[in-house]
């Protein structure tokens, strides 16, 4: 319970900061902290492999990519990059109603029976990838290739 409370508080504060902070670079860094805390949460849940992938792909890949995009789309003149947002009241009402609805659903639905993750959990993950979810696994590699080529085609200069 103590671990959950600490991780949950960090995750909540990090998410709120990503959503409301006024400086875009700070927002990306808050997101990096939130994603790292999520990796810690995965490790806390005994999903060590997912935690490693989370650090490699999210914090290693996405955050660097985000920082590149921020640097490419704004002049770097030393000043911080201000971003503003409005409509807090409407968004707050929508977000609160959404959360209330989710809470009602969660509290009123039967929870699945409790089981125990075995010792050879990672082997089972690999086996599931290559047996039951093989088609999805292969399509995912095609999707990643398409995304990579698509990103190059979209973002390159026409005369290059």
């Amino acid at each position: 319970m103590i671990g959950f409370t600490i991780l949950g508080l960090i995750l909540f504060v990090g998410s709120v900061q990503v959503v409301r902070c006024k400086d875009l670079v700070h927002g990306v860094l808050w997101l990096a902290m939130t994603l790292m805390t999520t990796a810690a949460t995965f490790a806390y849940l005994d999903a060590g492999f997912v935690a490693g992938i989370q650090v490699l792909l999210y914090t290693g890949g996405i955050v660097i990519l985000m920082l590149f995009a921020v640097m490419l789309t704004k002049r770097l003149d030393g000043a911080s990059i201000r971003i503003d947002s409005d409509g807090w009241l409407r968004a707050g009402v929508v977000g609160f109603l959404f959360f209330a609805g989710l809470t009602a659903v969660i509290l009123n639905s039967p929870m699945p029976a409790k089981g125990q993750i075995g010792e050879e959990s990672l082997e089972k993950v690999g086996t599931l990838f290559l047996t039951r979810h093989l088609a999805a696994f292969e399509f995912l590699s095609i999707l990643l290739l398409a995304a990579m080529i698509g990103a190059i085609v979209i973002a390159r200069k026409k005369d290059a």
């Binding site: 319970m1 959950f4 995750l11 909540f12 998410s15 709120v16 990503v18 959503v19 409301r20 875009l24 990306v28 997101l31 939130t34 994603l35 995965f42 849940l45 999903a47 492999f49 997912v50 792909l57 999210y58 890949g61 996405i62 985000m66 995009a69 921020v70 490419l72 789309t73 971003i83 503003d84 947002s85 409005d86 409407r90 977000g95 609160f96 959404f98 959360f99 989710l102 809470t103 969660i106 509290l107 929870m111 699945p112 029976a113 409790k114 089981g115 125990q116 993750i117 993950v125 599931l128 979810h133 995912l140 999707l143 990643l144 398409a146 995304a147 698509g150 990103a151 979209i154 973002a155």
Partner: protein, 101 residues
């Protein structure tokens, strides 16, 4: 009070709602993508929590699929943002109101 699946699901729902609020309030395209990341992250947390609770590795498999899909989404999204910036010299969403170049 002992820790059970409900707590994890409520935490995930809270993070998702916070991300939704960001999605509705942000004006900058990159900041919008940041909010979407928060929401995707909440979904992955939920998948792993439920899978571990049930003692079923499918939760981890689905979370890994989710992570890979998010990576593809961010790559294409950032490429589109850079293209928009090249065409319009801004990524403030209120100023991008024309569909045809």
């Amino acid at each position: 009070m002992t820790l059970d699946l409900t707590h994890w699901m409520l935490l995930s729902a809270l993070m998702f709602s916070v991300g939704l609020m960001g999605l509705l309030t942000r004006k900058n395209a990159v900041a919008l993508l940041l909010s979407v990341e928060v929401m995707a992250n909440a979904v992955n947390l939920n998948l792993v929590a439920i899978g571990q609770h049930r003692g079923d590795e499918t939760g981890q498999v689905m979370a890994l699929f989710g992570i890979a899909l998010t990576v593809a989404e961010v790559v294409v999204g950032l490429a589109i943002i850079i293209l928009i910036h090249r065409l319009n010299k801004t990524i403030e969403l209120d100023e991008i109101s024309e569909l045809s170049g």
